[in-house]
Symmetry: C2
Subunit: 588 residues, 2 copies
C-alpha cells in the first residue's frame, strides 16, 4: 500500500486579507515541504478567511479571490514548491452573484477548494452540503456543488470535500466509496462550541466508515468577530482509528504518514459517472509529486483535548486577542469594579494581550464598597495591568443637580457616567472598550443599556454566571499549579454579587440565586424549552414565569449589545434571532 | 362562468399575539360576510404574525399556533360564519423542529396556509418556494412543501399559494395551470421596499399568465421591528387586467366579484398526480359556501400607488407607530437640535403618535447656535409636541474638570452627555428614545457611538440624507396643500448641516457634499459596486477611496446601532451582513 506524507496546516487566516493569507500559505507550504510532505492541506476559505458573509455579493471581492488563487499557484511554483500539491479553500463564482428577483434567484458563488500544482489550479471542488443553521447562512451565499473531485496523485485517489460535507450522511463521502477513493480530504472553517471536539471525532469516524477511506480533517484556528475556530485537525483511518490529532486553539503543522490503497481503474466509477446524491465524478491527475522521503515514518502524535474550563478559557483568550489584533486596536480598557465579571475579563485580557496592553479603571461612586476598591487594586497588583482610579461622583452629582431623577433612573445614571468615562478614554488614547456582562445578565436584562453595556467587545458574552465562577477558580488553580500568581482575588470570587448602584444592593434582591437561575436559562435559551418543559424538569413554576418574562422583555437590550466570543450553539447574537416586537409569552 | 365574491382582508397582525390575531380574523370575517363574500383571504402567517424568526424552534410556540388554528375554526363556526371559507396563514410542523446535527438536518416546520370551513381545517398548503435572501432566512426555518392544494368551492377550483411562490416561475403557478385551476390565492407577508409596488404588479401579471388563472394577492400591513408591510393587495385577471387594488399602509377590506371558469373533471390532473416542480395535486371540496349575493356586482376599485416621498413617509410613520404601540411604549423622546434630521424624525413621530405622545428635548451646549435653538422651538410650536430645554454645559464641564480630554474626545463627550440625559428621561418617565441619524451618517460613521446613536428605534435609519431633505420638503408641501401648518421650519431645511460639537463646525469639514456623497454610497451600499465600478460611473477616484474607507471602518458602529424602519433592499441591519473584522479594502 503506498504511503503518503500529509501536512495538515492548521493556520489562522484573516477575513479579507487575501495578501496576508496567501503569504501564510506560502510560508506553511515551505514548512510542509521541509518536513517532506507530499500533500499539503489548508482550511476552508483559506484565501479569503471565513465567514466572509455579504462580501460574497461584491463582484470585486470574488474577482480578487480568484486572482489571488492564480497568483498563489504561480508564486508557489516560483518558490520552488510547485510539485507539492496544495489544497486551499477560496471563494469562486460561476457568474455574477444575484441576490433575488423574479424567475431564478440564482446566485453563482461557490465555497470552493482548489488543488494547486506546478503553477496552476489543477483541480477544483465546490462544497456540496451547505449549512444553514446556527451561525451558518450558506444557502444565502452559495450554490451547492454537484461534482465529486477525485485527484490521482502519488498513485492514490484523493477526494476533496469541505466542512459540512462531513456532517451529513449520503453525500460526498458515500460518493467517495463508489468512486473507490483511498483518502478523503476535508477542509474546515468549523467554529468552536463547548464540547464540539467530543462530537467531531465520532462524526469523522462515521464518515471514514461510510467512505471506506482515510479522512484528513484540517480546521483553521483564530477569532473572527463572535466566532472562534479551534483547530483540532486530525487523521482517521477507514476502521475509525485516530491516527493523529493536533492541539486546539494554536497554529500547528500536523505531519503524518498514511497508508493509502493504490488507485485502480476499471472497478471504480469513471470520470463523469453519477455516483451519489446527484454528484458526478470529476477525475484529475497531478504528476509528479515529491518522492516519498527516506528515513523513519512521520507521526503527528495525538494531543488529547483539554478539560472544559481550559478549553473555554483558551477560546475566550484567542477570540479577544484576534478581535483586538486583527482590527488593529493598540490596547483595551475596561471598568474594574472588584466584582467577579470584570475580574475574569481583566484576566482574560491580560492572558490575551499582556498586562501592558490592558487598562483597567476603577470608577467608584458613593455606593462602592471599600472591599470593591481593594479587590480591584489587588487584581491590578497580581496581573500588572495599567490601573487607574476615576471617581464618578462629581459627574453623577451634576446630573442629579440638573435633572429630577429617582429610583432606577439614578442607578442607571451611575452606570452611564462610567460608560461615558470609558468611551472618553477610548477616544483620547485609542483602546477598545471591553464590556464585562455575563450571559446570565444579558439574558434577563440585568444591566444598564448604554451603561455597563458600553463597549466594542465582550469576552464573556456567552458565559453563564456560574461558568464565570468556575473559570475564575480554574484559572487561579492553573496559576498555582504552574507556580504563578493567581490573577483573580479570592474576594472577587467569594463575595455575593452586587451592582453597587444603591445602598446595600445585591443581585439576589432582583434575581433568583444563579444556581437556580442558570439551569432555567440554559433550558430556555440553549435548549429552546418552553414553560411547561422547564416546569416538568423540576423548576419552580413561579420562578420560571418570572425568569421567562425577564428574558423575553430584554431582547431590545441584547440587540444593542457589543459582539463577543461565542462558545455555545445559542449565544445571543447572529445565531439566535428573535423578534423584538413579539407578544408571545410562554405563560400565556 | 361562475362569479365568486372575494374579500381580501388587508389587516395588521402582531408577531406572537395569537389571541389578538385570531380575534382580528373573526372580526374581519364578520365584515367580509356582511359584504356578501363567498371566500375570505387573510395574509401569510396571519395567526402568528410575520416573521417569527427563531420562535419557530420553540415547540411550545408551534403547538400554540396549531391549537389557535383549530380554536379559530371552531370560533368562526360558533360565530355563525362557518360556511364562509376562510384562508389564513399559520405556523405548522410535521414533527419536532431540529436545528442541526449529524445525518439529516431535517427541520419539520412549515410556512402554512389553512382553509377553514364549518368549524374545521378543510385544507392546508405548505409554502413551496422559500426565500433566503435579503431579510429572508426561510431555508433556516422551514421545509419546502411539495403539494399543490386545490379546493373546489362554489363550483370553481381554487389553488392556495404563499408569497415567494409568486416570485419564481415554474412552481405552483405552472402546476396550477396543469391542474386546471380557475383562481390562485396568494397570501403574503411581503415587506415594503421603495418602488416594490412597481415590480409587484408585473410579477402578478406574469404568474396570472403562467397559471392561466385569476390571481388574488393579499398582503398584510404594519410594522414589525425593521420591516414594514404595505398591503397593496390586488386581483389580476388571467389576461393581466388589474381588476382591483387596495391602498398602501392602511388596513382595508377589498371586496370584489370575479368571474372564474367552472371546474371540470377529466381533462385536469387528478388527486395525487405530479404536476410541476415535484408538486403533487391534493384536491379538497368544501360545500356549501354562501350563495352568490343578489344586487349589483361588488367592485373594490383601483387605488393608484402614491408618489415616492408620500410612500416613504407613510412607511416610516407606520413603522414607528407599530414599533411603539406593539411594544407598548407610552410615548417617545428625542433630542431636537434644530437640524434637519431630528426635525424630520419629530414630524414623523407626531404623524405617527400625535403631538401629546412626543417629547422633544433641546440640549444646547456652548457650541449650539442661536438659530438652532430657535429652529427647535419653532418646530415645537408648529407641531404642538411636548418641548423641553435641558442645557448640557454643567455636565460637560464637570467631565472636563475631572478628565484630560481634547479634540474628538471632547466633541463626543457632548453627544454622550445628551445620550445620558435622554436615557435618564426614558428611565424616569417611560418614553422610548428615538435616534435620528440618517443612513448617510450611519454609512460613513459620522456619529458618536453611545452619543447621538443612543436610542431604541431610528425612524430614518434607512433614509439617505438627500432623501431626508426631499421628505421634509414634501411633508411641508403636503401640509400647505391641505391647509395645515408645515411642521418643519424652513431654516432647518435650508441651512448647511452641522453637528455643532466644536466652534463653527460643518458636516462639509469632514464629508463630501451630500449631493456627491449619497450617489457614491448608494452605488457601494445598495448596489454592491466596487471601487472600479464607482469610478467607472464617473465619481472622483480620490473621493471614492475616502468614502469607501469610511464605510468599511464604520461597521462596528452600525453593529451597535438601534433598529429602524427599512425602506430598501440594503438597509443596514439584518438584511446586510458584513464582518466587522475584515481587512478587505476596495482600494487594495
Amino acid at each position: 500500500m503506498p504511503t503518503l506524507r500529509l501536512a495538515l496546516c492548521q493556520v489562522n487566516p484573516s477575513v479579507g486579507d487575501l495578501t496576508g493569507n496567501a503569504a501564510l500559505v506560502r510560508a506553511w507550504t515551505r514548512r510542509a515541504a521541509d518536513a517532506g510532505a507530499q500533500l499539503a492541506l489548508f482550511p476552508e476559505m483559506m484565501l479569503t478567511g471565513y465567514p466572509v458573509e455579504d462580501l460574497v455579493f461584491r463582484r470585486s471581492f470574488v474577482a480578487a479571490s480568484k486572482a489571488a488563487l492564480d497568483a498563489l499557484a504561480a508564486d508557489l511554483a516560483a518558490d520552488g514548491l510547485g510539485e507539492l500539491p496544495v489544497v486551499v479553500g477560496y471563494l469562486d463564482a460561476d457568474g455574477p452573484p444575484q441576490v433575488s428577483g423574479d424567475a431564478e434567484p440564482g446566485r453563482g458563488a461557490r465555497n470552493a477548494a482548489a488543488l494547486l500544482h506546478r503553477g496552476t489550479v489543477a483541480a477544483t471542488y465546490f462544497k456540496h452540503h451547505l449549512p444553514n443553521y446556527g451561525v451558518f447562512d450558506e444557502d444565502r451565499y452559495f450554490v451547492s456543488g454537484d461534482m465529486l473531485t477525485v485527484v490521482r496523485l502519488g498513485g492514490v485517489d484523493v477526494a476533496l470535500t469541505i466542512c459540512e460535507d462531513l456532517w451529513q450522511a449520503g453525500g460526498p463521502f458515500a460518493a467517495a466509496r463508489t468512486a473507490g477513493v483511498g483518502l478523503v480530504v476535508n477542509i474546515n472553517g468549523s467554529p468552536y462550541e463547548l464540547n464540539k471536539d467530543d462530537v467531531r471525532l465520532p462524526v469523522v469516524r462515521r464518515r471514514a466508515a461510510e467512505a471506506g477511506a482515510t479522512i484528513a480533517y484540517v480546521n483553521m484556528i483564530g477569532g473572527q468577530d463572535e466566532l472562534v475556530f479551534e483547530g483540532d485537525s486530525m487523521i482517521v483511518a477507514p476502521d475509525g482509528t485516530l491516527l493523529t490529532r493536533a492541539p486546539q486553539f494554536v497554529e500547528h503543522l500536523l505531519v503524518h504518514d498514511v497508508q493509502v490503497p493504490a488507485a485502480t481503474d476499471g472497478a471504480t466509477a469513471a470520470d463523469g459517472a453519477e455516483v451519489a446524491d446527484g454528484l458526478r465524478v470529476v477525475r484529475r491527475t497531478v504528476d509528479p509529486i515529491p518522492a516519498a522521503p527516506d528515513g523513519p515514518a512521520a507521526t503527528g502524535g495525538i494531543i488529547e483535548p483539554v478539560a472544559d474550563e481550559a478549553e473555554v478559557w483558551q477560546a475566550l483568550v484567542l477570540g479577544l486577542r484576534d478581535y483586538v489584533n486583527k482590527n488593529r486596536f493598540p490596547s483595551v480598557v475596561l471598568g474594574l469594579s472588584g466584582g467577579i465579571d470584570s475580574a475574569v475579563v481583566a484576566a482574560i485580557a491580560v492572558d490575551a494581550l499582556g498586562p501592558e496592553r490592558v487598562v483597567a479603571v476603577s470608577m467608584p461612586s458613593q455606593h462602592s464598597s471599600e472591599h470593591s476598591r481593594e479587590d480591584a487594586a489587588d487584581l491590578a497588583k497580581r496581573t500588572g495591568l495599567d490601573y487607574r482610579v476615576e471617581p464618578i461622583q462629581p459627574m453623577v452629582d451634576t446630573f442629579l443637580a440638573n435633572l429630577s431623577l429617582s429610583g432606577v433612573a439614578v442607578e442607571n445614571l451611575q452606570a452611564r457616567v462610567r460608560g461615558v468615562l470609558l468611551m472618553a478614554l477610548s477616544n483620547q488614547e485609542g483602546p477598545l472598550v471591553l464590556t464585562t456582562g455575563n450571559k446570565s445578565e444579558l439574558a434577563v436584562g440585568y444591566s444598564t443599556l448604554y451603561g455597563d453595556s458600553v463597549g466594542g467587545f465582550n469576552p464573556i458574552k456567552d458565559v453563564w454566571k456560574t461558568l464565570v465562577w468556575r473559570l475564575a477558580k480554574w484559572r487561579n488553580a492553573e496559576a498555582t499549579r504552574t507556580g504563578q500568581t493567581p490573577p483573580i482575588p479570592e474576594n472577587s470570587i467569594g463575595k455575593p454579587p452586587s451592582a453597587e448602584l444603591s445602598p446595600g444592593q445585591l443581585d439576589s434582591d432582583s434575581l433568583p440565586d444563579y444556581d437556580v437561575l442558570d439551569p432555567i436559562l440554559i433550558g430556555y435559551v440553549d435548549g429552546d424549552l418552553g414553560r411547561d418543559g422547564l416546569v416538568a424538569s423540576g423548576h419552580d413554576p413561579a420562578v420560571v414565569d418570572k425568569v421567562l418574562r425577564m428574558v423575553d422583555t430584554a431582547e431590545y437590550k441584547r440587540r444593542q449589545s457589543a459582539p463577543g466570543t461565542k462558545i455555545s450553539m445559542k449565544a445571543f447574537g447572529r445565531d439566535r434571532r428573535l423578534p423584538i416586537t413579539n407578544r408571545w409569552r410562554e405563560d400565556g
